[in-house]
């Protein structure tokens, strides 16, 4: 008995125009929208119900936050360029761009770690106030997603890249799907940054 062939893993199904993993990752991202949406709803409710709410700029470092935002944006650009390189059959450029994406992600985490340790040094912990609680929770969960992305992208840059030799279109699809996830991580940060760092307090 031969191995099972799942159709539409690589080529698109005619009536939906999608291959399986693309639909799958969009569904997953929909669930992630609900996850971060719920956390944002927690932020909104806690903030509205609070007598006082910290002014982000006084506690968090806007320069570091801005740098991190720009880094993630850059990583999104390099991510989509890595996919485009594969579409143009340029594996070397793919490696370059994916490598840059990984580098940006690591720098992001390093800066984040620096920010966290600075908070702890100033005795600002999640238990200090609801503002700090939601700050650490939102950025912490986002950070976990960055780590997840590093693992996936790292695999696709390193050991997983061998698939380009045997099944190039399937590999390209994988990069597209990984890219969709990565752009989502960037998208969440685009909302997190102003919400936590820039909004005025009360």
């Amino acid at each position: 008995m031969s191995a099972i062939e799942i159709p539409y893993n690589v080529e698109e199904r005619p009536d939906t125009g999608l291959y399986n993993a693309k639909l799958g990752v969009w569904l997953f991202l929909a669930s992630e929208v609900m996850l971060f949406g719920a956390l944002f709803s927690a932020y909104v409710l806690l903030r509205v119900g609070a007598e006082n709410w910290e002014h982000g700029a006084e506690i968090l470092s806007i320069p570091l936050g801005t740098v991190n935002t720009l880094i993630l944006i850059l990583s999104s650009v390099t991510m989509v360029m890595s996919w485009a390189s594969l579409k143009m059959h340029n594996f070397a450029r793919y490696k370059l761009f994916m490598g840059m994406t990984l580098l940006c992600a690591l720098v992001f985490l390093v800066i984040k770690g620096f920010e966290y340790s600075a908070k702890f040094h100033h005795h600002l912990f999640p238990s200090t106030s609801t503002y700090m609680a939601i700050y650490f929770t939102l950025t912490g969960l986002h950070g976990l997603h960055v780590i997840g992305g590093i693992i996936v992208n790292g695999y696709l840059w390193g050991p997983g890249a061998g698939m380009w030799q045997t099944e190039p279109q399937r590999f390209t699809n994988r990069i597209e799907v990984a890219g969709l996830y990565w752009h989502f991580v960037d998208l969440v940060w685009i909302f997190l940054f102003p919400t936590l760092y820039l909004l005025p307090g009360k």
Binding site: M1, I4, E11, L23, G24, S31, G49, S127
Partner: protein
């Protein structure tokens, strides 16, 4: 055309552990889910049988097994109130998250959906395997929570803050409630991965000719269920993380300012909202109850169509109803919160959407009932369970109405009326449908039939005693007996005249347990000694009956093409069967014309 994976071994050559333990075959995974979930259902039932002793004979030592639980849980064999609460919280959690959903979706869904759509497996077989093992880990964590020093979670399956936060907090993981939260994260992750798989499979892997309006209703039910799981679970995952932070990291997401516990101010930053937990919890938990019922309705639809030898009445309306039901289920959640001090405007909103959602429910139930009219009914054992589902779900649904209206809910909220209501939908509702499904598809999975006599004993005994447990609850509830009272209300002054019913309910529960014995015996005995069947013993029309029995890895030797709708019973056209026209049989008229 994609390159086949040359390196992947032929399936038959795989070692045992890859074929049966870490299998990626949806049928093996379905059976894994099925056996695991049935064990959890049995365990959850045991928990409540213990609770029912305390309710029937409050303060009296439990015979025989009272001494097994140690002096902290059952001093002198008498159930401590904290232990009662633990049993209650874990009974609910285990039945809902470890029992029914894995059985309805993980077992029945996984096994049948690829078969019914003519696919060789799910879209993401490895993800499917991961889903099962993550569920398994979550279950282990939940069970392990019983063995930590202070016992398991004990704040209800609803884990309301602040009680759930202040009960044995600390930056250790060895606390029941903390393990509950971690277990829930595992279970939610398993569900999310599973729902991505189901939706992608149903949309992308349907066989040629299988349009959406030719899908068996069971597949529609699973599709909507998967969307509910996908979009409703994440807020609870978020809330679980927040509660974990409150318990372990000392945050105050759900702790209001000025909280005083046992006369002492609680040390935390405050500023949180206990209501936030309720909103996020019920945002999931309401769609969750539709996750519990929709697969059951799907199973009942299949069994009814098959055993009336008639197409389902109103298939199109059933499809629209289930889609609308799924959508509305997201915006009714705060009918669980009518007594939290919500204002009249917001209460009216949720009351209205709740009344609206009863309409598609009734449409589906009515269509199923009307499907019986004019049918040649075969009273097989699956049909008995499917028929019983109809009035039982009807009672469950009707008793939901006074709960969904804010004013009448004032009297009934948090009473035994609520327990009666939701158990009617889930116990003689969903669980009966699950039994119908087991009796119906057992021949497909094993190649043997379950014994019908034992099946009838199982059915009649279960029907009688399950009503004996839950019907009196409406009486108790209307008299004002609150839920979650460890002595069943004995220490209050009011409603004493209805507490005598507790004994009858407990005896019914224990008798119900006895009547599951014929089922368990039947289930295992028939694996070896049951009457062997041919491929399509029920003369059914849907694609799962087109495979060899049991279906091999890859299901279909050649992928079938679908030529017609799912319930062409007693309609002319077939050249091989007298009273049904299977979906996969070629269209002879069109062929003749061609």
């Amino acid at each position: 055309m994609t390159e086949a994976r040359h390196h992947e071994a032929h399936h038959d050559d795989l070692p045992f552990w890859r074929r049966y333990i870490f299998s990626t075959d949806h049928k093996v995974i379905g059976i894994q889910y099925g056996l695991t979930s049935l064990c959890f259902l049995f365990f959850g039932f045991c928990l409540v049988m213990m609770m029912r002793w305390q309710l029937a004979y409050p303060g009296q030592p439990m015979p025989w097994i009272g001494k097994w639980f140690g002096e902290s849980r059952m001093p002198g064999g008498v159930m401590a109130p904290e232990f009662y609460n633990q049993l209650g919280a874990m009974h609910g959690t285990i039945m809902v998250f470890l029992g029914i959903v894995p059985l309805a979706v993980g077992a029945f869904g996984n096994y049948l959906v690829p078969l019914q759509i003519g696919a060789q497996d799910m879209a993401f077989p490895k993800l499917n395997m991961m889903s099962y093992w993550v569920y398994f880990c979550g279950g282990v964590i939940m069970l392990a929570s019983f063995f930590v020093p202070a016992g398991s979670a004990q704040s209800g399956w609803t884990s309301y803050a602040p009680l759930s936060v202040i009960t044995e907090p600390g930056n250790t993981l060895l606390r029941g409630q903390t393990m509950w939260l971690i277990g829930m994260v595992f279970l939610i992750t398993s569900s999310l991965l599973g729902s991505v798989n189901f939706i992608t499979t149903i949309i992308q892997l349907r066989a040629k000719g299988l349009t959406f309006m030719r899908l068996p209703f069971f597949v529609w039910a699973q599709l909507v269920t998967a969307f509910l799981l996908l979009l409703a679970f994440p807020p609870l995952e978020a809330a679980g993380v927040l509660q974990l932070m409150d318990r372990v990291a000392g945050t105050s997401f759900f702790l209001p300012s000025g909280l005083v516990v046992s006369g002492k101010p609680w040390v935390a930053s405050g500023g949180g909202s206990a209501l936030l937990w309720q909103h996020l919890f019920w945002f999931l938990a309401h769609p969750e109850v539709y996750v519990l019922i929709l697969p059951a309705m799907g199973i009942v639809a299949e069994v009814i169509a098959n055993n009336t030898r008639k197409p389902l009445w109103g298939y199109n309306s059933m499809v629209w109803a289930v889609l609308i039901l799924g959508f509305l289920s997201f915006i009714v959640w705060a009918h669980h919160m009518f007594l939290t001090g919500m204002g009249t405007a917001i209460s009216s909103f949720f009351q209205t959407t709740t009344m609206l959602i009863s309409i598609p429910s009734i449409v589906i139930l009515t269509a199923l009932i009307l499907s019986l009219w004019g049918g040649s009914i075969r009273f097989t054992v699956p049909m008995l369970f499917a028929l019983a589902f109809l009035p039982m779900f009807g009672i469950g649904g009707l008793t939901g109405l006074p709960l969904g209206l804010a004013t009448s809910d004032i009297q009934l909220h948090d009473t035994y009326y609520v327990i009666g209501h939701f158990h009617y939908v889930v116990a003689p509702g969903t669980i009966f449908a699950m039994f119908a499904g087991i009796y119906h598809w057992y021949p497909k999975v094993t190649g043997r039939k379950l014994n019908a006599t034992l099946g009838r004993i199982h059915f009649w005994g279960s029907l009688l005693f399950i009503n004996g447990i839950f019907m009196p609850m409406f009486i108790q509830g209307m008299a004002g007996v609150s839920r979650r009272l460890y002595d069943g209300g004995a220490s209050y002054l009011h409603a004493q005249h209805v507490l005598g019913l507790n004994r009858m309910m407990s005896v019914s529960a224990w008798c119900l347990a006895l009547f599951q014995i014929p089922f368990v015996i039947n289930f295992f005995w028939s694996l070896w000694k049951g009457r062997k069947t041919e491929e399509n013993p029920w003369d059914a029309t849907t694609l799962e009956w087109a495979t060899p029995t049991p279906p091999p890895h890859g299901n279909f030797a050649t992928i079938p093409t679908v030529h017609r709708g799912p319930y062409e019973y007693s309609l002319p056209g077939s050249e091989t069967h007298k009273d049904f026209y299977p979906q996969w049989e070629p269209d002879h008229v069109a062929k003749a014309r061609a």
